[in-house]
Subunit: 232 residues, 2 copies
DNA sequence: GACTCCCTTCACGATTTCTTCATCTTGTGG
DNA sequence: CCACAAGATGAAGAAATCGTGAAGGGAGTC
């Protein structure tokens, strides 16, 4: 559940600025390249989740960049979003032919660009994480990711989103100790700047809602918290 | 649950390549035709589940191909997905007029195309099932996919298309929580870019029309919505 | 062209949730 | 047993989410 990293490839400084502002506002981390060679280099160095790739580029055009990216095994999961000049249908077909996942015509409207990036990342994530571990359980406590609810026998616990993610994170690895900083990343969000003590408050509330089972969340003094793995 | 077979009809070799790559990657078996006559021949020989049909074709255009396919009793269950040039509104109207099930504007975005194909096949599968399975029900609420109406006892609810799809989607998996983004894909359309909170508005209207049963659509704060599965 | 229906967006208030902070309790080492 | 650090607790302000009504725009109809 980390924050998605995007590689923006665009030679026009103004356009690049627009891309950056648009996508950073959506909470993405961005890396930027101004030509094809730099794009390839940065893609390999940073392993971004998605690359926004202009077709017209100095040194190496977008088509060629895309082809080479696709040929790189270590970038198997990279999503490529092409930026093509308006009405240049041949570019689009070429781009899709070398494996681009989607395209947006320039000038790109921020709303559409952001929406497409979001949709692409969501689908990519869904693909990489096939249906399966939709149920987490330890003892008689069950975290149901499909129904977004937590049960124990007949009893149901009404948790807030943050409490839910907190429990989900810890119960996925019973016995493992999580530092507060880790829990913040998982449950609150990466890149959100809040006090680590915040976790204490959520843990407290979570324990309270879990009633007798609240003690399954153990405090590890000086480190953080963990979900008990003592056989129930 | 056999592997679906698709017939791809496209005269541009590059575009055909894109179609093939996109859909084979999704696990479909494909057959290819480059003109209208070949399309008809292969459709009859291979009896595919779905045909992706370009409108502009040599010899016999897509409209005419579609018309003839529809006239063939042995291809009753064939699903037709039209590929139309961008902004050619007239093509779309014509296509749907001769019985196409859906259309995608060229150049086709892989994800969108794949999503639509998947959705169409899912719908077709449901349609071919016995009548009983074309009724979705939970409690005394019945969603009739054949008559496109929703009933509860004697009462009939008059829903808009979007409200209908929304309800259909959720009632098909009672208890499962749907994120707004998912609901947008299912109920509004893949590749349509609208505000996620648009869903809220449709839900509100749906609840209002369902009257007392509106509460069956539950809000899962911070996540999305779901259809209740609490035993009636 | 006026009208209707549907979809979409927007803004406001009500409510819930998150976060911070001050205080109290507990655990630990000396 | 004390002192101190770390955690637990409760309260309250800040922020986010959701429900709602209304307005605008497009497509189709009369």
């Amino acid at each position: 559940m980390t924050i998605p990293k995007l590689l923006l490839v665009e030679d026009d400084p103004d356009l690049l600025e627009v891309l950056r502002l648009t996508l950073q506002r959506e909470g993405y981390e961005t890396v930027e390249a101004r030509d094809g060679e730099e794009a390839l280099r940065l893609a390999r160095r940073h392993a971004p989740d998605l690359v926004v790739l202009d077709v017209m580029l100095p040194k190496l055009d977008g088509i060629e960049v895309c082809r080479q990216l696709r040929a790189d095994r270590s970038l198997q999961h990279l999503v490529v979003l092409m930026l093509t000049a308006r009405a240049e249908e041949s570019d689009v077909v070429l781009g899709l032919g070398v494996g681009a996942d989607d395209y947006v015509c320039k000038p790109a409207r921020p709303r559409e660009l952001a929406a497409r990036v979001k949709a692409l990342l969501r689908r990519a994530r869904a693909r990489d994480q096939p249906v399966g571990d939709q149920l987490l359980a330890s003892g008689d406590l069950v975290v149901d990711l499909v129904r977004f609810e937590v049960r124990a026998g007949e009893e149901r616990f009404d948790l807030t989103p943050t409490e839910f993610r907190l429990l989900q994170t810890m119960i996925a690895s019973p016995g493992r100790v999580f530092r507060r900083a880790e829990l913040l990343d998982y449950a609150v969000g990466v890149g959100v700047f809040v006090d680590e003590r915040n976790i204490d408050t959520h843990v407290k509330s979570l324990r309270k809602k879990l009633g007798g089972r609240g003690s399954l969340i153990e405090t590890v003094r000086g480190i953080g918290y963990r979900f008990s793995d003592h056989a129930a």
